[in-house]
């Protein structure tokens, strides 16, 4: 039952998105613009700064993620569909998980384009170890989206939600950004130190577990009027 509701919510979001492509295109374009702004700001005399690529990639993901989170729930608010979703005889945590997987899928799709772009523009060997990079990106995106989905959902009813989402989200997701940037930067070193990468991956996993659990636990009281 739980898995079925998750699937239904996910499929609904997916169908809506495929028909309009609104969030995918805007978030992706925004992320690419962020990367370009960083390129203009940091590239001096035609040379990219050393070790900047990891940070720029994660900043672009965080910014685009915030935009996507805001838009996803704004769409639910406009026609009061979130209320309908919450009124449905379905477990609240299942609705949360469905929404979370939708956001994660969206962001991972955006990263498929972002990673080669950053690798190209900043001459970073991001794609030399694709499997490790994929693990880091999935874990980091999951952690960011776990907090973001909960906050965006609960802010639907609040005033000035567009401003408040990044204000609340960034201080809380700092560990994800730190761990993601550090692990990616370690991956870019000529001599990869697996001990460092596995430390940050362990931290990311712990963060994901704790924050998904907390979100599942608090989604019910937070979404109740």
């Amino acid at each position: 039952m739980f898995a079925r509701i998750v699937w239904l919510v996910l499929r609904k979001d997916f169908t809506v998105e495929v028909r309009s492509l609104e969030i995918v295109t805007t978030a992706l374009f925004f992320a690419v613009s962020c990367v370009l702004i960083f390129a203009f700001a940091l590239v001096q005399e035609g040379r990219a700064p050393e070790g900047g690529a990891a940070g720029i990639l994660w900043i672009a993901i965080a910014f685009a993620g915030t935009l996507a989170l805001g838009r996803t729930f704004e769409r639910e608010r406009q026609s009061e569909t979130l209320r309908a979703l919450l009124l449905a005889p379905a477990a609240r945590p299942a609705i949360y998980v469905g929404k979370l997987l939708g956001i994660v899928a969206l962001l991972l799709g955006a990263e498929l384009i972002l990673v080669p772009l950053v690798a190209l523009l900043f001459q970073a060997p991001l794609l030399s170890r694709p499997l490790w990079l994929a693990i880091i990106l999935v874990l980091g995106t999951l952690g960011f989206a776990a907090v973001g989905t909960l906050f965006a959902a609960m802010l639907v009813r609040a005033r000035s939600r567009d401003v408040l989402l990044p204000v609340l989200l960034y201080p809380i997701t700092v560990p994800v950004i730190i761990a993601g940037v550090r692990a990616t930067a370690a991956l870019l070193q000529p001599e990869v130190d697996m001990a460092i990468i596995s430390f940050w991956l362990a931290l990311l996993t712990c963060f994901d577990v704790v924050f998904v659990t907390l979100a599942l636990w608090t989604f019910e009281p937070l979404m109740t009027d």
Binding site: M154, A158, R159, L164, P171, I172, L203, F207, L214, L222
Partner: protein, 218 residues
């Protein structure tokens, strides 16, 4: 107001008048000299900052799952004081660091985690102020996540090197340094309790006023 409030406020005022004298007669620290005296403000405010953050987090969790508005008022009051004492800590710290370490700021574990904790408290206040109706529950959720976040920030920054003095400095202090320190710590603590009580009272009056408005409307 409770009966103890006025006497406690007078005692607190007197302690604040005496504290500078005690701090002034404490000996100069051999390497840092005069700047070391910031310590007598920095450390007590940092303790109160931490205490207040814990109170805010615990009260928020109780409000989120219990729904008693008393806990909400306590959480809000504590969050405001986190911002206040956090600001004192974060201003006095760099003043001292400039002399002791030669830099204003270091991305060290305590500095970073204090800064992030302070930012969560500021985000909490922004949410309460601009979030509109229903933001009390949201703020409680934020406080819960902020509290859960602390160990992660601590671990992730601890992986970098640290130069901040550790907690085991305090018990080993000689009396000449320790007495003014403990005196100002108690002074800050009394002031904190007074401010917290005052702030909770303000919220109580506000909610009473709201209730009166509502009943007048009916």
């Amino acid at each position: 107001m409770p009966k103890w409030f006025t006497p406690a406020a007078i005692v607190c005022g007197l302690m604040f008048a005496v504290a500078p004298l005690l701090i002034a007669q404490a000996p100069y620290e051999s390497t840092m000299g005069l700047v070391q005296k910031i310590f007598y403000v920095h450390l007590p405010s940092a303790w109160v900052f931490l205490l207040s953050a814990i109170i805010c987090g615990v009260a928020s969790v109780r409000y989120l799952f219990g729904g008693n508005p008393r806990h909400d008022r306590l959480a809000w009051a504590a969050a405001e004081l986190v911002v206040l004492f956090g600001a004192i800590t974060l201003v006095t710290g760099p003043l001292w660091a400039r002399k002791a370490w030669g830099v204003w700021w270091q991305w060290d574990v305590r500095l970073t985690s204090s800064l992030m904790g302070w930012m969560v408290a500021v985000a909490y206040m922004l949410l309460r102020k601009y979030g509109g109706p229903g933001s009390d529950k949201l703020a409680a959720g934020l406080a819960l996540f902020g509290m859960a976040n602390v160990p992660f920030i601590y671990i992730s920054v601890n992986y970098w090197r640290t130069i901040h003095p550790t907690t085991n400095v305090v018990p080993t202090l000689p009396t000449s340094f320790g007495l003014p320190l403990w005196f100002s710590a108690v002074t800050f603590m009394v002031m904190y309790v007074l401010l917290l009580r005052l702030r909770v009272r303000l919220e109580e009056q506000r909610s009473r006023l709201d209730a009166l408005y509502l009943s007048a409307d009916n």
